[in-house]
Symmetry: D2
Subunit: 341 residues, 4 copies
């Protein structure tokens, strides 16, 4: 019963197979090999963005920080949600790479166009002494497991664009959101006004690889310089590329996310039917935030249930439950059985 | 005939086996899994440094830049050789992470104690306006394939220490140097006055993993903060650890380096016997810098020989030839045959 | 009627006299002159801190950013009030110099010990992925014109200290707060648990000089390195020193702040008696935040009144009124007369 | 006999008069006052650059570092002479502000077009692993007191431009060079291919002010953001502007530099006629580097002569002698008398 995170399970068999397959012969390093070229071309095709600049990096923090550094200047600020991963969980990497500050918009998990507009105007009103508006960063899936609709994304990027700001999408769970919306990669990115995407692989079945997609190819040289300066250019780049090859082939990435979302939906449906369980946020992808009775929590822990909790309040405990592709129906059934007592 | 680099060949079978083996079940992320703990403990043992802080990162540039950031302050300078990898090939990563400048010592491949002392004194003489001496960084194997003897290492770290400076060892080819010297890891590091080591895995048979070893464990918190801020903390850390497990197990890392050095020695011996070939540096580990007659170069290229060249001078061409464990005797024999014309 | 800021009026006659006086003969640059030594010694005496490291810099932003860089590490965070000058008005200088993030505590002008403790704990709870607690920065006078009592300061630094955090005091209006509290410089700084002070000169009568006082003299070398690297070491340092000499001599700095506070109290007292005027914050030093009826505002503007406004709400306008030593009783009387209509 | 530096003497009377004059009444802060506007307009006129962006900052290091940060990217390198002030005497400020590395060109005081071209090509040849060419920085007057002719400047900026690089001029002694060449400010800057100038005031008679002139006005917003983020935006900006007003009025700056150069020429002429004195560099502006017999040096020191020395070699001592406007003929005559023994 492993719901601690979508980074605790194994990698997809297809990913491992591709990595093993790639481990033969001599190829040029630093991304100059055929496999690396093929994989970035494939990503361009998947995103219907034939001149986008596409790069592979090993971690989500690297993807976010490098992408943002190409969008915002050191004397500017990046607007994001208060609990955004870039604000809470990256130890200042976005600021380190970009030099920009982060400005928190509103106090909700999802940013609203009104709150965004208000914060941009407040920033502009402060004048020359404060940082200038630089970029917007949205998380899709959000930190609390919600998914912006295409209309919501567009409304937000419209506000950003009206003030001349580019928008970055932290897509560590890009595939889960896309499956949830039933849309295409292009619809959830550049067609919705997104300028740069951190396209997650690690949480959805890779060992450690993310793609950064910059829809403006003029950013290519800057990204390459910043990637190397950050120590994120792999010499044996084929092993990043092979992971991505296995991940993208035969829609493995879509199927993996669909499986994770279905697992999550099954778990959520079961929990909703249980007396005393309340949801903090709608579980729209593969992440659930809910409150459990303390006794339930203790039974689950005793039975080996693994998940993060955020403390007790009013006799209940707030927990986060995350599903990935590898979670079996058995695990979910057993978890729900224990919940039911 | 692939002598372009020790990053163009495949990973060791033992490394791949360990990675495949690790790909099962659920384990905690971010290095909190048993395998990660076991591997860092093993490195401590190998280095006879039982309280050292040990970390795994994916690239050599990350290892160097993070280690140096823990040794030098932003208003200080790091002394290194003019052609050091940290100066020439890391796009400013050491400065980005540490904030310090690099000061080039002498104009040779190997730093001499005299040149180091002179440069440190020059730095101190400039007074408050210039950067202060901060750290020494040595490459072992050097950029041009040379190996510092233990006495040479000690003489250099003594000069550094006399001025209060810690010393970093860029050991991207640590194993090759160690095998060449026939010494232990401890003898080539802390016993020789080294404070931090970038212990290479990638060039010697891994897919992408290096260890940073800080012999002063008080640096641990700083390293961890800087690693995460740089985007180099793997969530699925087991895949870094597994590579290192395969690499260290049954002395695979030592055997791999020994094989590479032997391949290189065979190639060098053959070349030395050939009329018109001259060596720029003694080939002491797995890297050769020599000059070939132009006609020889053309025959080699026509036959599919792969290596870097640094331009023509006086009818000869300067080339770099690198061996790794995977180079077969056949490749070397064929290369020499073509050289002989 | 100039209430726009305490940086719009002239410098004190004593400051100008000292600068003119200093403009003779040859002296060593970079702070190695007798006057510079005398002035920093005088500051140590005034603060009863005989081994403190004391430096002069030209701007308050430089003082804050350099002091904070000596207290917090790049992978840490600095706790401050949401409207603190370092957060809102310094264009990211504290982050630029320190590498640290800022974490906003509570949503009030003054930080409370409870809110501080809660935010530190929240930070610690996030674990290795987020920034670590690094330092506390307090503004005295606060951005909205309030003054922390000595007990309040102590309660806050106690919380910080309990978590191992040093505390910085942004004393751009140090003298105004000190006069308001009727205490000594030492009581409002190190005796209250403060580790570093930005001791303001500019707003209280200098042309452009602030002192940074580090009560831990071991920080001296770091400060000096960072100051030069930031471009804040004056070659003709005597002109910073002379300003400070004129400012400190004959208690000019205390008298100037007392005059400013008295001016402000007179203005506040008059406003409180006027129908329709409401105070957003108690005016405890030389800054007033209040709401004026729109008609009053228009009369004032028509008569040449100068002050900042923060927009209209409910028929009233929020304004900020700042006094310095140079504001005459006449200006205040006239302002109040116009307010009375 | 004060030849230690052009920062040890007093400020020009005209500068002091303007500062005293400016110290009345209320004006807006942060450069939004009439005097600040007038002075920057005057600089545009003097440089015949009617849309240039012009800013005042307090130190030469700030001017250089901020200007360079607007020209070079963090993954690029700035080419400069090995002994350039930005390399040797600014404690890493250019790297701190720009993020770029410095690459030293040749081993002479003056850069040659050949050496520059060679170093740029070497940089390009290294490929993606190294930093990219970013900008050229020239010092005029050079560190060793030499002056580039207009033709030399043009030849260097032509090489830079051929590779797409902008050129910065460190003009800490701009006026001394201009007087030496007998040219106009425009001829020695944009007409010679310069993109940004650090226009020195401090060494030539101000208390502490330099102008940065960016001939491309599109850089304005970036400069303003970086200036504030660096803590270099003066709130009471009128005192920077007033210094510059006094400096520029009635050609005070030109006359001051002419006086300094004449003083220097008189001193150099006298020295050249003395047996045993040899010149390391031609003294083309206001700085002399020469060797004195040890006995001469001792007599001078005993008589209160002030200047820097760089150590003894072969019975002679290398010294630097700097003149500013305030050095009297008497001081020079006396110095030469003592030299003559």
């Amino acid at each position: 019963m492993h719901f601690a995170s979508d980074n605790t399970g194994p990698a997809l068999p297809q990913v491992m197979a591709a990595v093993n397959e790639a481990n033969q012969g001599y190829v040029l390093g630093y991304g100059n090999d055929d496999l690396s070229h093929a994989v970035t071309a494939q990503i361009r095709e998947i995103f219907e963005a034939h001149d986008a600049a596409v790069y592979l990096v090993p971690t989500g923090t690297a993807a976010n920080a490098l992408a943002l550094a190409c969008l915002a200047q050191p004397y500017e600020t990046i607007f994001c949600a208060p609990m955004a991963h870039i604000q809470e969980d990256e130890c200042g990497a976005p600021e380190f790479y970009s030099g920009a500050k982060l400005t928190l918009v509103g106090d909700e998990d999802k940013i609203t166009p009104d709150a965004l507009g208000q914060e941009i105007r407040r920033c502009l009103d402060r004048g020359f002494q404060g940082v200038k508006p630089g970029a917007l960063s949205l998380s899709q899936v959000t930190e609390f497991g919600q998914v912006y609709s295409l209309e919501e994304l567009r409304a937000l990027t419209d506000v950003a664009r009206a003030h001349g700001l580019p928008t970055h999408l932290d897509g560590a769970r890009f595939a889960n959101a896309m499956v949830a919306l039933g849309c295409t990669p292009a619809e959830m990115s550049w067609k919705a006004g997104i300028d740069a995407v951190s396209f997650g692989g690690t949480k959805n079945g890779c060992m450690g690889v993310e793609a950064v997609i910059l829809f403006d190819p003029k950013k290519a040289a800057e990204f390459e310089g910043r990637r190397k300066r950050g120590g994120h250019l792999f010499s044996k780049h084929r092993y990043l590329a092979a992971q991505m090859q296995g991940y993208l082939g035969d829609d493995a990435w879509v199927n993996s996310a669909r499986q994770a979302n279905q697992n999550c939906a099954m778990l959520a449906e079961g929990l909703r039917a249980i007396e005393g369980v309340s949801f903090d946020y709608p579980a729209q992808a593969n992440v659930i935030f809910c409150k459990l009775p303390l006794a339930t929590h203790e039974r689950l822990k005793a039975a080996g249930g693994r998940y993060y909790d955020n403390g007790v309040e009013g006799g209940k405990i707030s927990v986060r439950l995350v599903c990935d592709w590898s979670i079996s129906t058995d695990q979910i059934t057993r978890f729900l059985d224990i919940c039911r007592g």
